[in-house]
């Protein structure tokens, strides 16, 4: 059977990455930072999203959290919060800072 050229529902949105996939990616990041204590975990997540995610991906995540954040890990919610409150843009490598 040939591959069809079906358009997903989100054709008209401003999304860079379909929401479902975005949530999977975000929760994978949360899993990685889970062994770190609260504030460091949130900062590690913020730094990762800020440094590696296209701004449209970040905005979609923030919007989704504002709309209830269905399916998003609580630590991602904490990390994403820091995206909107802080303006530290410079990224770094290594363990999350306190």
């Amino acid at each position: 059977m040939s591959q069809s050229v079906a358009h997903p529902e989100e054709t008209t949105s401003a999304r860079a990455v379909p929401l479902e996939r975005l949530i999977v990616m975000a929760n994978q990041i949360a899993d990685f930072f889970s062994p770190y204590p609260g504030p460091r975990r949130a900062e590690g997540i913020r730094n990762h999203l800020r440094t590696y995610w296209d701004p449209r991906m970040r905005q979609d995540l923030i919007d989704h959290i504002a709309a209830g954040g269905d399916g998003v890990s609580p630590s991602i919610v904490e990390g994403a919060q820091l995206l909107t409150t802080g303006d530290d843009r410079k990224g770094y490598y290594g363990p999350p800072k306190a």
Partner: protein, 713 residues
């Protein structure tokens, strides 16, 4: 007829196959290459070579090489050959049209590790300065991107700590997820030489590879773990090292962040990482994990070499961090004979990584979000640059399907064949309004392209490659470019056509720009390389001829200290079940190279004319499959057909194949799961089922395979 063994010209250049970077003397007769002689002065190969570098060069004059630019309005149309001028103008105006319609960020560029440093640097400049966004990625995304991430986090630089010859000082060699004798043969021979002298060997790999047992090699410890359990097993090794106090406290105290070490030590000493608890999950005896830990820590010189078996997992970056943690904790860095070393797949993957073909960093792994760094590029290039990270390769395809990505410039890559979940990629490619491909051949991706720019092989251009040992080697033009231009010259034409004035008299001038803007390459130039042959970065005023061993006194981090990352094991979401009870893992073989674009077009094809599915006799016979039968392999994503081969190299529950032949379409089967940090695809773990194909239906399918469509399950 003239005797072809009497060449009329010799040129010293560097092999473009794997990341070893062997030096060759290319000999030509009347403008055609007649043979490649391994170069004795080559610092990676010392006169050795493998059968790819030595014999697989004829692809460059293959009958199906494209030497005329071509365009078409739609991917359903036939190609129309046009002049260079017309093709460049068409590509430029189409990319600009797409940007005007869908936005600045609706287009991007992909560079290739088969191209030179100069070309890779120029493509990222094209994306950032001309397209005006950071949608630039390279094929390291799908192989060693976790290396950059994981090693930067722990030891500071995402690159091998050693030069290849360092292995001759190693007492214990640990190979993780790599098979050097097949994938990096010249380095494999060097490793064998050291093993013959008595070095001990640990292999961590689901398969009983050549590195486990073959002439001159017998692994002292083989951890044939279940695919997907690397992080669990490496944490368990660390557990033993901490619990038995085998770590090097003096090194950690003097060279590393002690607080982070203590936190990590407490983390891995948890009972959940005890060999008794990890062993059963990974299919290993706990005692074997202990043996590996004790042997590695005992050294005195232990060296880790690893490959895509570490990186191509949903926890690829975490796996690399585990290796960084291990080397630091045992003090196995900063001298000869030790280290942590990625074995890079393509000739210039290290260069691709170094030179900023990433959406988030400029050359030298410096963040685009860093105002100071960005300002230095803006000053040199005379334009304002995007301060936000761009889309990664898999995200570009996602964005295409979501409706916000409509144009691509692809130099020397074939994502439709090489990237995972092929059905998804094709669906994305079909959304594009302008795909510009620069390549030697009409590859799988070209089926979805609108402009084809005929590129040049590495035998037809000047520049440099950076090998897996950070060695910058000269690539020299052996024959004239068949289509008229070297690849970097084509990019320059495109930049100018799109309104950005770019002028370089030769590739050396691009390298000078690289040196000006990248601290580790500061001292590198054609003049230096022509004088001393090659140089390993960092190369600057402190190391005017380069650096063999990294981290001798400090680590390239802000405080100069190495650090430890907490590496929790998170099992992949890809699980076996009743429908897909086997795990598929993929890899490559000595005679062929990657997706085979080059090697399949040479006589090397005789050694490996098709990809076969390695399966253990038990798993095969319960399915009624005999050795040599045609089988259908299916996953949640798709299915394809190939021949089965009984193999003792794979354990029960695991099957294996190579991905050298487009007809196999194995990436129809592979999953779309990816590394948490870098989106590097999880090629190494896909749950599958294998069934025998009845002869009648096989013939029907074989006919259908010729079509341009993906056959889905």
């Amino acid at each position: 007829m003239a005797n072809p063994t009497k060449p009329d010209k010799q040129v010293i250049t560097t092999c473009a196959y794997c990341g070893v970077g062997c030096g060759f003397k290319a000999e030509t007769h009347q403008g055609r290459i007649v043979r490649m002689i391994p170069w004795k002065e080559g610092k990676a190969n010392h006169g050795h070579s493998c059968i790819k570098g030595r014999f697989a060069f004829d692809y460059y004059q293959s009958n199906d090489r494209i030497t005329t630019p071509m365009i078409r309005a739609s991917i359903d149309d036939a190609w129309t050959p046009v002049s260079w001028e017309k093709a460049i103008q068409h590509a430029a105006s189409e990319l600009r049209r797409v940007q005007a319609k869908y936005g600045t960020k609706s287009v991007g560029a992909i560079s290739s590790s088969r191209c030179t440093n100069e070309e890779i640097f120029l493509v990222q400049k094209f994306a950032r300065a001309v397209l005006g966004n950071n949608n630039i990625d390279n094929c390291a995304r799908i192989c060693h991107s976790p290396t950059q991430f994981g090693l930067s986090a722990t030891v500071g630089w995402g690159a091998a700590s050693q030069h290849f010859d360092s292995i001759l000082q190693a007492d214990v060699i640990m190979i993780v997820g790599a098979n050097p004798t097949e994938g990096h043969p010249v380095f494999g021979s060097l490793m064998k030489r050291r093993l013959r002298q008595g070095a001990k060997l640990i292999v961590i790999d689901p398969r009983r590879t050549e590195s486990v047992n073959s002439p001159h090699i017998k692994a002292d410890v083989h951890l044939n773990l279940r695919p997907g359990t690397n992080v669990a097993v490496l944490d368990s090794i660390a557990h033993v090292i901490i619990r038995e106090k085998l770590y090097n406290e003096e090194f950690v105290r003097s060279r590393c962040e002690w607080d982070e070490f203590e936190r990590w030590a407490a983390f891995v000493s948890s009972e959940r990482y005890a060999p008794e608890s990890i062993g059963p999950q990974a299919g290993l005896s706990p005692e074997l994990i202990r043996q590996a830990a004790r042997l590695y820590a005992s050294g005195p010189n232990s060296a880790i070499y690893y490959g895509l078996g570490v990186t191509e997992h949903s926890q690829g970056s975490t796996g690399v961090m585990c290796l960084g943690n291990l080397t630091l904790s045992c003090g196995m860095l900063g001298r000869e004979g030790v280290g942590v070393n990625p074995l890079r797949g393509q000739g210039n993957v290290q260069g691709g990584s170094c030179l900023g073909s990433w959406p988030h960093v400029f050359s030298g792994y410096r963040f685009v979000t860093d105002d100071e760094v960005r300002a230095s590029f803006e000053k040199d290039w005379g334009v304002t640059l995007d301060a936000e990270p761009g889309l990664r390769l898999p995200n570009m395809f996602d964005a295409a399907i979501a409706g916000n990505f409509r144009g691509m410039f692809i130099m020397g890559e074939d994502p439709v064949q090489s990237d995972p979940n092929q059905g998804h990629i094709i669906q994305a490619m079909r959304q594009m309004e302008c795909v510009v491909i620069q390549d030697l051949f009409l590859n799988e991706t070209a089926k979805y392209a609108h402009v084809f720019l005929p590129g040049s092989s590495s035998l037809e251009k000047d520049g440099t490659f950076t090998s897996a040992e950070r060695r910058v080697n000269r690539v020299r033009k052996v024959v004239e470019p068949l289509a008229g231009y070297q690849d970097w010259e084509i990019v320059v034409l495109l930049m100018n056509a799109m309104g950005y004035p770019a002028q370089y008299a030769d590739a050396g001038e691009i390298l000078n720009e690289v040196a000006r803007l990248s601290p580790a390459y500061k001292g590198i130039s054609f003049e230096l390389l022509d004088r001393i042959g090659s140089a390993q970065w960092p190369c600057d005023e402190n190391a005017p001829e380069g650096t063999e061993v990294l981290h001798r006194k400090t680590f390239p981090r802000a405080n100069g200290r190495g650090t430890f990352m907490l590496t929790e094991y998170v099992p992949t979401a890809e699980r076996t079940n009743d429908t897909f009870p086997l795990l598929l893992t993929t890899g490559r073989i000595l005679t062929q190279y990657n997706v085979g674009t080059q090697t399949r077009r040479t006589e090397n094809n005789r050694w490996h004319a098709e990809d076969v599915l390695e399966i253990c006799e038990h798993d095969a016979s319960v399915r009624g499959i005999k050795d040599g039968d045609r089988v259908r392999i299916a996953s949640r994503f798709g299915s394809t057909e190939l021949r089965a081969k009984y193999s003792e190299r794979v354990s029960g529950g695991v099957v294996y194949t190579t991905f050298h032949h487009a007809e196999t379409r194995i990436n129809v089967v592979t999953s779309d799961l990816s590394d948490w940090a870098t989106n590097c695809p999880e090629y190494k773990v896909t749950a599958v089922e294998v069934v025998k194909v009845e002869i009648g239906s096989s013939a029907k399918k074989a006919k259908k395979k010729k079509r341009d469509e993906v056959v889905t399950a």
